[in-house]
C-alpha cells in the first residue's frame, strides 16, 4: 500500500469521502485492501482495447471465427461498405469492459450521449471520420443487458499481414465506431 502525503492541502470533497468510505468498508471486513490494489491494477494494466483488437484481427483472418463472433459473441456489429455502426450508452456508461476496458471520459459525457443519436455524422466528423452520404449510419444504444463492439472493416493494402500486425491497426475508437482503422496511423505509431 502506498501512502500519499497530502498534509499540505485538504483533500478535495470526493477524495475525502472515498477515504472515509474505504476505511469503514475495510474496518467492517466488507472490502479487502489488497483486492482494491489488485482490481485497479487489472483495469489499468491488464484489460483494455488490445483485447478487443486481437478479437477484430482474428475475425479478419478467420471467416469461421468471424461468423461465430457475429452470431453469438457479445453483440458485435460488423461495418460494411453500406453500413457504419457506432455505439453509445445514452442512459449511463455501458461498454464492453472485457474487450475494451473502461470507457474514456468522452463516452460517458453528456455531449456524446445526447448528440450521437441525433447528429451522428456531425459527431463522427468531429472525430475526423467523414461518412459518405450513401453509407447508412446505425447508432446502437447499449443497455445493462447488451453491450456492443463494432467490428470494423479490414483496411485495404493489408493483404498478407499477420494477425499481430493487423491488431496493431485496430484502435479503441474504431471498435466504438467513432473512427476506423487506418494503415497510415499505425505506420506512424499514432491513432487512438
Amino acid at each position: 500500500m502506498k501512502h500519499e502525503h497530502e498534509h499540505t492541502q485538504p483533500p478535495s470533497d470526493p477524495a475525502l469521502r472515498i477515504k472515509a468510505l474505504e476505511s469503514l468498508l475495510i474496518e467492517k471486513g466488507l472490502v479487502d485492501p489488497g483486492a482494491i490494489d489488485e482490481l485497479v491494477d487489472i483495469f489499468e494494466h491488464r484489460i483494455g482495447p488490445r483485447n478487443g483488437a486481437r478479437v477484430v484481427a482474428r475475425a479478419w483472418v478467420d471467416p469461421l471465427y468471424r461468423q461465430r463472433l457475429l452470431e453469438d459473441g457479445t453483440k458485435a456489429m460488423a461495418n460494411t461498405p453500406q453500413v457504419h455502426n457506432v455505439v453509445v450508452c445514452t442512459l449511463c456508461s455501458c461498454y464492453p469492459w472485457p474487450t475494451l476496458g473502461l470507457p474514456p471520459t468522452w463516452y460517458k459525457s453528456p455531449p456524446y450521449r445526447s448528440r450521437v443519436v441525433i447528429e451522428p455524422r456531425k459527431v463522427l466528423a468531429e472525430f475526423g471520420l467523414a461518412i459518405a452520404p450513401e453509407v447508412e449510419v446505425r447508432v446502437w444504444d447499449s443497455s445493462a443487458e447488451i453491450r456492443y463492439l463494432v467490428l470494423p472493416m479490414r483496411p485495404d493494402g493489408t493483404e498478407g499481414w499477420t494477425e499481430e500486425q493487423l491488431a496493431a491497426l485496430v484502435t479503441r475508437d474504431s471498435m466504438i465506431g467513432t473512427n476506423v482503422p487506418r494503415v497510415d496511423a499505425a505506420a506512424t505509431g499514432r491513432g487512438k
Partner: protein
C-alpha cells in the same frame, strides 16, 4: 424512470471534449471509488440495477456538474446508508477524523 440521465437527443449540453492519451483514471480517489464499488457489488451489497437507479435519482444539477466517478461514489454512499451497512453518520464522523489528521 424519466430523468436527467436520459440524455439521448437533448441539445445544448456543450461541445464534445476528448483528451488525447487519456489515462484510465485521472485521480487516486477515482481508483479507490471504482474498486470499492466493484468489490461491494461483487460482495452482494447491492445489484447493478440498484446502483443505476441510485445514480438516476441524483440531484439533476449535481448529476450534470460532477465527474463520472462521483456518481458511483454517490450511489455507494446512498445505498449502503439505506441498507444500514455504512450510515451517513459513520461516514461524516470518519471524514471529519481523516480531515483533522490531515491538518496536523
Amino acid at each position: 424512470m424519466n430523468g436527467i440521465h436520459d440524455l439521448g437527443g437533448m441539445q445544448g449540453l456543450g461541445p464534445l471534449i476528448r483528451e488525447p492519451d487519456e489515462p484510465v483514471f485521472h485521480e487516486e480517489w477515482e481508483r479507490r471509488t471504482f474498486a470499492c464499488l466493484i468489490l461491494t457489488l461483487a460482495g452482494g451489497q447491492y445489484t447493478v440495477d440498484e446502483l443505476r437507479h441510485s445514480i438516476e435519482r441524483m440531484d439533476p444539477a449535481r448529476y450534470l456538474s460532477t465527474p463520472y466517478y462521483e456518481h458511483w461514489l454517490h450511489s455507494a454512499e446512498d445505498l449502503l446508508d439505506k441498507k444500514g451497512v455504512v450510515t451517513r453518520e459513520e461516514l461524516a464522523r470518519r471524514a471529519a477524523e481523516i480531515a483533522a489528521r490531515g491538518r496536523d
